[in-house]
């Protein structure tokens, strides 16, 4: 009985070992194949959309008029041309090189982002932890929040002129509310057991804030930063379109005046690249600040 079992185990052992290695190899292959398929799909999608756009603006079914008029909707090849022109043609531009304009807009967005974030966090934490204060101020914040904030841009430009400051201010106002509401909610969601625990251990209100409230609200605040930077860019651009001496918003509004959709699209691409870059940096920040968090299930599945 025992010898029989041993014999079969001995003959079976190398076989199962081999197949375990094979299973691992097959698993790796399968995941590689899936990665390749995903990238093929992505490239195909881009080719279909951009190629279709190019095709429709080129195709003339009746020999005269294109299916989609590039005069209004641009054309990918021309967008590329104007993108190249924006970066190479420095003498012609009346308001400096493209790099200068990117820097101006970027600076406005970043300053507005920082200002709005700091104000949002401070006020959110303050109102979130003080029930009386939040009951008193709450309705007013909701009133201000219901005002279409883009209109404030006009007021800021009238009040502070065409310089950088009104753009920073509009970006900050847009960012403020996103961050504020998240910080406020974050403070409200703090585990009351945790607060009770440190209070019993003898923590002062300041220590409760440092050890419990702020780290706990941080999850909410950081989640809001992703959307907040998008709003900062929007604020800076809209204020520039309303009136500016430099910046991507100015290039866009000038191109609009010259019926040049290609340059508008080219600027859109530049802005998308800036936003993606900022998103990546915020992602890094999030990763380092929230490394204690358990891995998100949906994140793991979406790889």
């Amino acid at each position: 009985m025992t010898t029989l079992a041993q014999g079969s185990a001995q003959s079976g052992a190398p076989k199962t070992e081999e197949s375990a290695a094979q299973i691992a190899a097959r698993g790796r292959q399968a995941s590689q194949r899936r990665q390749i398929l995903i990238w093929v799909g992505r490239v195909l999608l881009a080719v279909v959309i951009i190629g279709g756009w190019q095709l429709c603006t080129n195709l003339k079914p009746d020999g005269k008029h294109p299916l989609v008029d590039p005069f209004f909707f641009g054309m990918p090849s021309q967008i590329w041309d104007s993108l190249v022109t924006l970066f190479t043609n420095t003498e012609d531009a009346s308001f400096g090189s493209i790099w200068e304009n990117i820097w101006v807009t970027g600076q406005e967005a970043i300053l507005g982002f920082l200002l709005g974030t700091v104000a949002g966090i401070v006020l959110g934490l303050l109102l979130g932890s003080n029930r009386y204060l939040s009951s008193v101020v709450g309705p007013y914040i909701r009133i201000v929040n219901s005002i279409p904030r883009i209109i404030l841009g006009s007021i800021f430009i009238v009040a502070f002129g065409l310089g950088t400051f009104p753009k920073v201010l509009l970006a900050a106002v847009l960012v403020f509310f996103v961050v504020f509401f998240n910080a406020f909610q974050g403070v409200r969601e703090v585990d009351q057991n945790l607060v009770a625990n440190v209070r019993v251990l003898g923590a002062s209100p300041l220590q409760v804030a440092i050890h419990v409230t702020i780290p706990s609200a941080m999850t909410w605040i950081i989640a809001s930063l992703h959307t907040a930077f998008g709003f900062a860019i929007i604020g800076a651009l809209v204020a520039e379109v309303l009136g500016a001496q430099q910046g991507l918003g100015l290039i866009i509004s000038q191109a609009q005046g010259k019926f040049d959709p290609d340059t508008v699209f080219a600027c859109m691409i530049i802005i998308a690249v800036i936003t993606l870059l900022a998103e990546y940096l915020i992602g890094l920040l999030e990763h380092s600040l929230l490394k204690w968090r358990p891995p998100n299930k949906s994140e793991a599945q979406s790889i």
Binding site: D191, N193, L194, A196, N197, V198, R199, V200, L201, G202, A203, Q207, H211, V212, P215, S216, M218, L290, W292, R293, P294
Partner: protein, 283 residues
């Protein structure tokens, strides 16, 4: 024990009465958002001797947790009062630790930093606090897990961390609000044995809330039964099972244990049925 807190333990032995809890005529009313008053506990009178392990058992919502909150000083009583040692509780009572059913651990702090919180909040230098915390992690059998985060531990291990964090300051009073309520049966038994072992070392006064009558009898010197809301003390039973109790699972089969358990259940049964009838009637 004396190794960790020679100074503090000496001070405690000198003034043993400091760990006595006297609850007299304690009443707590809450204001509902609609402006009505709700009486959670009414006229609770109860004394816990220094170093005694006292359990409070009662139907759901009878104000057990409310009583604990008044003892800790997290809340102020509406009438009556709590005296810990010679002092009337007015603000946070010092030398108290709390343990909740949901483990109140900081998810963003490592296990070591979680346990260190107690001494750090008392102003202990970081180096000393680290040494103390490492020693406590060893005592609860978690040496080598210092750098993990709470979410990386099992439920039982998290309870051990919470226990170390609650005991590291060598509290004279330990308040436990259904600490093992959410654990599976096996883990619960292991944790009960661990708690008894640590308690026998340190001998803090314990107020222990539970729904589990077996748990109450197995661990305690005294079991208090509370009535349905508004909660008040119905009966007090002294448990004369010998100490040290040894294995909690084995003691359950002793005849004296069963006798006591039956007596207490007789008293508790009415309250539980009444509480149930009330919720069933309301629904």
């Amino acid at each position: 024990m004396g190794v960790n807190h020679p100074d503090r333990s000496a001070a405690r032995e000198g003034a043993d009465g400091r760990a006595r809890i006297d609850i007299a005529g304690l009443t707590k009313r809450y204001l509902t958002p609609k402006g009505e008053t709700f009486t959670a506990i009414r006229d609770v009178t109860l004394a816990v001797e220094p170093g005694q392990f006292c359990s409070i058992v009662g139907p759901t919502g009878c104000g057990k947790s409310t009583t604990l909150a008044q003892v800790s000083g997290l809340e102020r009583p509406s009438a009556g009062g709590v005296r810990v040692g010679a002092n009337i509780v007015d603000g946070i009572t010092d030398g108290v630790s709390y343990m909740f059913q949901a483990d109140a651990l900081f998810p963003w702090k490592s296990v070591l930093n979680n346990v260190m919180m107690g001494p750090i909040l008392l102003g202990t230098p970081k180096k000393e606090a680290t040494v103390l915390a490492l020693d406590w992690l060893r005592r609860v059998g978690l040496a080598g897990f210092e750098d993990r985060y709470p979410h990386q531990l099992s439920g039982g291990m998290r309870k051990r961390v919470a226990m170390a964090a609650a005991l590291i300051n060598n509290p004279r009073i330990l308040l436990m609000d259904e600490p093992f309520g959410a654990l599976d049966v096996q883990t619960k038994a292991i944790m009960q044995n661990e708690l008894l072992k640590l308690w026998e070392d340190l001998r803090p006064t314990v107020l222990f809330i539970t729904h589990d009558l077996d748990e109450a009898v197995a661990l305690s010197d005294r079991v208090v039964i509370m009535t349905t809301s508004p909660g008040t003390v119905k009966d007090v039973f002294d448990i004369d099972l010998p100490r040290p109790r040894g294995n909690v699972q084995q003691i359950r089969h002793e005849s004296r244990f069963l006798e006591l358990q039956e007596q207490i259940w007789e008293s508790l049964k009415d309250e539980v049925t009444r509480a149930y009838a009330r919720t069933a009637g309301a629904a």
